[in-house]
Symmetry: C2
Subunit: 189 residues, 2 copies
Amino acid sequence: MKKDRAATEEKIYKSFLYILEEKGPQGVGINAIAKEAGVSKTLIYRYFGGMKGLLLSFAQKGDFFKSLLAIDAQKDNLENLKNFVKEGTKELRENVLTQEILRWQLLENNDDTKSLFKYFNAQVGKTFTINEKDDSLNSAFQLMIGGYVYFTLLSKFNKTFITTDLTSEATWKNYDDAILKTIEMFSKL
Amino acid sequence: MKKDRAATEEKIYKSFLYILEEKGPQGVGINAIAKEAGVSKTLIYRYFGGMKGLLLSFAQKGDFFKSLLAIDAQKDNLENLKNFVKEGTKELRENVLTQEILRWQLLENNDDTKSLFKYFNAQVGKTFTINEKDDSLNSAFQLMIGGYVYFTLLSKFNKTFITTDLTSEATWKNYDDAILKTIEMFSKL
DNA sequence: AAAAAATGTGACCATACGGTAACAAATATA
DNA sequence: TATATTTGTTACCGTATGGTCACATTTTTT
């Protein structure tokens, strides 16, 4: 039998990503990852230091929201802010891994996940630079972004929210438009 | 030993509520409920038909958002709508059971939870009568309510969202105000 | 009082979880 | 080539899960 630690680590890491994407936070576990990787679970402890170390590796390597950083640098004017919103909501709905981390934060916060959430939130904070002032636009903007996250996560197991079809592209476009329109209205005050 | 089916059923049901409140959806299980009730788990199957039946009982008995129905009946004018929002957000942040059901909907949707979510969502739909039109106010309102739910759920394990303090009463008042202000602005269009 | 029905318990099953230790095999070093 | 060292597997442990079955005890009915 051929032995290759680097390749084995890669198999483990990729399996972790796969399970988080496919099964969500509840599916992530030592046994499941080892089985998916086709490898003994002992090696997860030896090479990564168990689940905690594995999540730390993920956190450090994870380039969350990288696609938004370029826009972020120049989102001082209204047009760029609107572009940022459009790209941000698109990124959120396409990046399943990001969705599952966000879902995870609603479930637990223990010794294993601590580092992951810390790195992730730091990255979010860097990307979504929030207005310092506690004005209504700031709060409204936060609520809408939060709502976007909520409905995105909800859409995994629910087809509708009350009468709103969460599977329809038009719905998400309506949400986008509503955010943009609200920003405009507040800016004209 | 005294035998009293009605009392036993009550013990089981109350234990279920207690665990859902204290441990969240992940803590809800046959063994945990039986242990908390100090009763053999066989009885959960015999009296309720297992977890599925237990959740069905909960769904049918559950008077979700009952405090909002009175306001709902007359929220045609702006003042009542604003009052409805204020009472609704308050109800949401105070009712842990409601929070955990909402959290649950983000985690799974299987044969056991199906009926619970169905009843719960029907009640939500009755309370939050959403505007039929796909206008921006409707979408903006939905996003903000969704955001409110999201931050409420997030606050269980996270003290902040980026720089916003989720433990501060002022934060939630800011959110309330932002919703009210947005509604006003859209109404004046 | 005797028989039947309802109520409740404990034991057991298969499965899965995280975690560890003993051992085999391959690779690197001497 | 002989010896360490690294890599990997298997087996096992304690605990927990959902679910069922046989049995004992209490309550109801005849």
